[in-house]
Symmetry: C2
Subunit: 344 residues, 2 copies
């Protein structure tokens, strides 16, 4: 960063003290309780319109903003839905899902915060999340266990929802069928006459929660047939892709499920640079059905994934918040359908 | 979502009450103040090791987690650094920057929370953020104004840092030189002998804070020369790219700065499908220096952007938190250098 010389003079406002609801009460000539009723929109108490207006004007004049934490301490819970910020590079598919979910929860008056836990995992992370007292916690693809769920519930979370291949005791589960993704891709390659099938397993940390069940699904898809599945570790860089492409002929493979469309793009380029014909020498299929697959030549075959609708997930959270004692729900998500294009 | 039948029976723990520090004090046989001293690691008071251990054991047994909000009410501020969750689709470059920043702030014992504000903008959003009483707020590419900064400071934020093309009164500023990106790309095309230069402006909402200054920089780069700059609106989909490619010859253009590498990939494919030679008929340059540009044929020229280092930004936040009355700092970030490959 380049420091720019001659900064402007200090901001005087930084030194001023933080206004409290007592200041607002004093200026408006009402009680603190009245200020609280008005600014927190408590429907329980009737307050005249002129008083209401006076409180709002005083709050505006003083720059007073209610304290969500104080309010949640009084109410016993917040409107905060906490999600751990993903520790893996987020693709366009997940970004879109997250955007929809935020929108849908926002419509139900929840606030979504993504919590950036660094170097802390599983149940230990749950303790850190619990300190913010979220009313609900949404955990995608994590290593949260029953103790972590328990910590969250004991600290007041009314709903814990996991989004991953397996359910966790005590939590609602959106069961992402990653095995189904590997199965669909591999079954497709088998049906196209391929028998020596590689499956890319990214070397990047945090992706194994997706890649391990995909590999497993690939193995199951051809179990008991004359086809083989070979695990292909691959880092997301050109050097590693070139190394793998150079080993393609010695490995005797004729097809690859490349984990997702981005790894498929990387590997397909390396195979082409190695002089291999796609799909002649190597049939390639990705997953996620990103636009980039349609921009490649040959056009990339892929597995289209049906992410859970933000609206459905928001409704599940809201149900669970209203009835925290209800039985954990289990929903299957991530329907996988093959989109056959030119690369396979 | 597919509901799976026969869910397991209700979790009994959901009905149990939330343990308080009073419960911990009772079980450990100490005062509530002692519990608070031990669990909040207050260095001010000396507490014997056996007492300390008894409190920790009681907390663990009861599943008690301290309340960050209560703690921040007592301390007067939190360790929370709030960032609005981006409202635009996040590319790999920004993802990496965010990851580094979280890591660096985590090392300084801050927690990064990304706040998902939906349908709320500028100073109104600032009020919502203020309710969480963050100790610092980092605002990338937003429409925050001086009143929003003031609201945040009055509610206890010790540092507000904006990351965008312009500084905001009262806030520290990382000034992203988006004009410089457009200027570098366009100057490169000019130097390659191009005179009829198109500049892609994405139709997607939320990107204009980047695209407008890039277009402006492009215009300035060739002001007073014999070259022209033509604004090319483009939605991120194949149909719109095909429509633009079909107009390429009538428009009489010979080069394009395609906003970033992803739009460049989309447009380059459409131009190639239209039978145009790259770079013969159309020189193409993107921005961001993503790996995908190296995977394309011809290899994509691009503008490499130097994002601010997470460590530097974290240090700035920490400085500002410790000295909230100091003069706002101004730093220039986003150094732009052209990476010339085959497409231009």
């Amino acid at each position: 960063m380049v420091q720019i010389p001659n900064p402007p003079p200090p901001e005087p406002s930084a030194a001023r003290s933080v206004p409290t609801s007592a200041d607002v009460a004093r200026l408006a000539g009402v009680s603190r309780a009245t200020v609280s009723y008005v600014l927190n929109n408590t429907g329980a108490v009737r307050i005249s319109e002129p008083t209401r207006r006076r409180v709002h004007e005083a709050a505006r004049e003083l720059g007073y903003v209610p304290h969500a934490a104080a309010r949640s301490l009084r109410a016993g819970h917040s409107r905060m839905v906490l999600m751990p910020a993903p520790s893996f590079p987020v693709g366009p598919l997940y970004s879109r899902f997250l955007g929809e979910l935020q929108w849908a929860l926002g419509r139900l008056d929840y606030t979504v915060v993504q919590y950036g836990t660094v170097g802390v995992h599983g149940d230990e992370a749950a303790r850190a999340w619990a300190e913010l007292r979220p009313v609900a916690v949404l955990v995608p693809g994590s290593d949260l266990g029953p103790p972590g769920v328990e910590v969250l519930k004991r600290s007041g979370a009314r709903a814990v929802v996991t989004l991953g291949p397996e359910a966790v005791d005590g939590a609602h589960a959106l069961l992402t069928d990653q095995q189904g993704v590997g199965r669909a891709a591999t079954r497709h390659l088998y049906d196209r006459g391929r028998r020596a099938i590689g499956v890319v397993v990214p070397a990047e940390r945090g992706l194994d929660v997706f890649s391990a069940p995909r590999l497993d699904g690939a193995r199951r898809a051809v179990a008991g047939t004359d086809a083989t599945v070979t695990e292909l570790p691959l880092a997301y860089d050109e050097r590693d892709a070139a190394r793998l492409a150079a080993r393609w002929r010695p490995l005797g493979l004729d097809a690859v499920f490349a984990y997702n469309d981005e790894y498929a793009m990387l590997l397909m380029r390396a195979l082409q640079d190695e002089g291999l014909d796609i799909p002649g020498d190597a049939a390639v299929i990705g997953a996620d059905d990103l636009m980039l697959g349609r921009l490649l030549r040959p056009r990339l075959s892929t597995v289209h994934l049906e992410m859970p609708a933000g609206r459905d997930l928001a409704a599940l959270v809201d149900r669970a918040v209203h009835d925290p004692g209800a039985a954990p729900e289990r929903h299957k998500v991530l329907g996988a359908t093959v989109v056959h294009r030119e690369s396979s």
